[in-house]
Subunit: 223 residues, 2 copies
DNA sequence: AACATATGTTAGCCGTATTAACATAGACCC
DNA sequence: GGGTCTATGTTAATACGGCTAACATATGTT
């Protein structure tokens, strides 16, 4: 029950609602509102005011649950990472361990999620601050780790299945991650649409992963 | 003289300055200010107020030169695309036509520029609007076309040099673009730094392009 | 010199984030 | 069952940033 976006009046929390002075589960309601607003317009256009209105409370109420706008977005980011992590883990576990298909399917899921909800992709990966110093970063959340871990596991299994040295795993992970992340970004920002209108992004992921891993194995066998 | 960021009091425009009521070349001064602010803090943190102050004018003055904040950013985006296009074309023309090295060097340039100025990369590629409909898009500018065209040219030469069918060119372009764009994005957002601290992004580009193109050629020869 | 145009300035409006001061609902205690 | 504490709302009020309107001053045209 903690996997799906909390739909306000759900389970264990006291969700009274209806005319009461207190909302019952404002925190969840705000996250739901924010999710929808960001899906529709992207994170930059998201306003606390709109989220408050959707939840049926005053503009000041959210500050009882989140330190500020950033805090709300950070909480939503973590929720979204959790959903993606679970999905990636499911895919990894439902396809043959060490197969190229598992890697490809994970990549396609990554892109699908991004394309379905561009605003949310932008939220979780789109931090703009040039300075990495201050405060915890998005991917730093444990759910971000889970996403990354799922990919690493699939690639690790792949190189082991092909008797390759494990030293290369992280390099391969970086290359594959770049492909899927880049494809997702370019698709979302309509760059493919403008420059490569015919492109099928899912096919691109398939072909790119295939080419990359084939080329990698060829390099291994030769040396 | 039109390649470098216009440094305010330069050449053909009347650049009087010094105590005068009129600035002389406010437009360029604003673009320079915006460039610096965005380099430092990213496009979201950029404010018209700060840019005006840096240029030494009132907050309303910029609106004589740009329709609004978006207009200023669009103009800066085009300038930045022009700089990158020229660089990519230079690289393409200075390395053996059809060589894999030319493709790799272009990719490395793409990433270098991004890493050096994350804010500007974010500006030119970071539009968040889910709706592609309204108005001209960033890459739509002719300078965006030039960037893309340089990459296409290099890949086209590569497949021709290897006697591959030209049908695949756009697919390859999409795959290579995804790699460099993804690597740049992940690096900029500190995702590599968190998850793959040892990674060398330039090497990643080299290896990924090499693996991808090797795998592609292998697929060609086999069929 | 008078006008027309381009380019600045000041003042002010509006929308949004955030905080301060106050209000009320529930929970807990006796 | 009433008193008190805490959590959670509400209504101002403040501050900042984009943008426009009304006014001012250069430039240069004739």
């Amino acid at each position: 029950m903690s996997e799906q976006p909390s739909t306000a009046a759900s389970s264990q929390p006291k969700a009274r609602r209806a005319g009461g002075y207190h909302h019952g589960d404002l925190r969840s309601a705000l996250l739901d509102a924010a999710r929808q607003l960001i899906e529709d317009r992207g994170p930059n256009e998201f306003t606390m005011k709109d989220a408050s209105q959707m939840a049926g409370v005053s503009v000041a109420a959210p500050y009882r649950h989140f330190s500020d706008r950033e805090g709300l977005l950070a909480a939503l980011t973590d929720e979204e990472f959790r959903i993606r992590a679970t999905e990636l883990e499911t895919i990894r576990d439902s396809l043959p361990l060490g197969s190229i298909d598992a890697i490809i399917a994970m990549g396609q899921s990554y892109v699908s999620r991004a394309v379905e909800r561009p605003g949310l992709f932008h939220l979780i990966f789109g931090s703009e601050r040039p300075d990495p110093a201050g405060g915890p970063h998005h991917l730093e959340t444990s759910n971000g780790d889970r996403c990354f871990g799922a990919l690493v596991g699939a690639v690790m299994a792949f190189v082991e299945a092909h008797s390759c040295p494990k030293d290369d795993v992280m390099g391969l992970v970086g290359q594959l991650w770049s492909i899927v992340h880049g494809a997702a970004s370019l698709q979302i920002h309509h760059n493919f649409q403008r420059m490569l209108p015919e492109i099928d992004t899912q096919a691109l992921i398939h072909d790119a992963a295939h080419n990359l891993l084939t080329g990698y194995l060829a390099g291994q066998n030769r040396s």
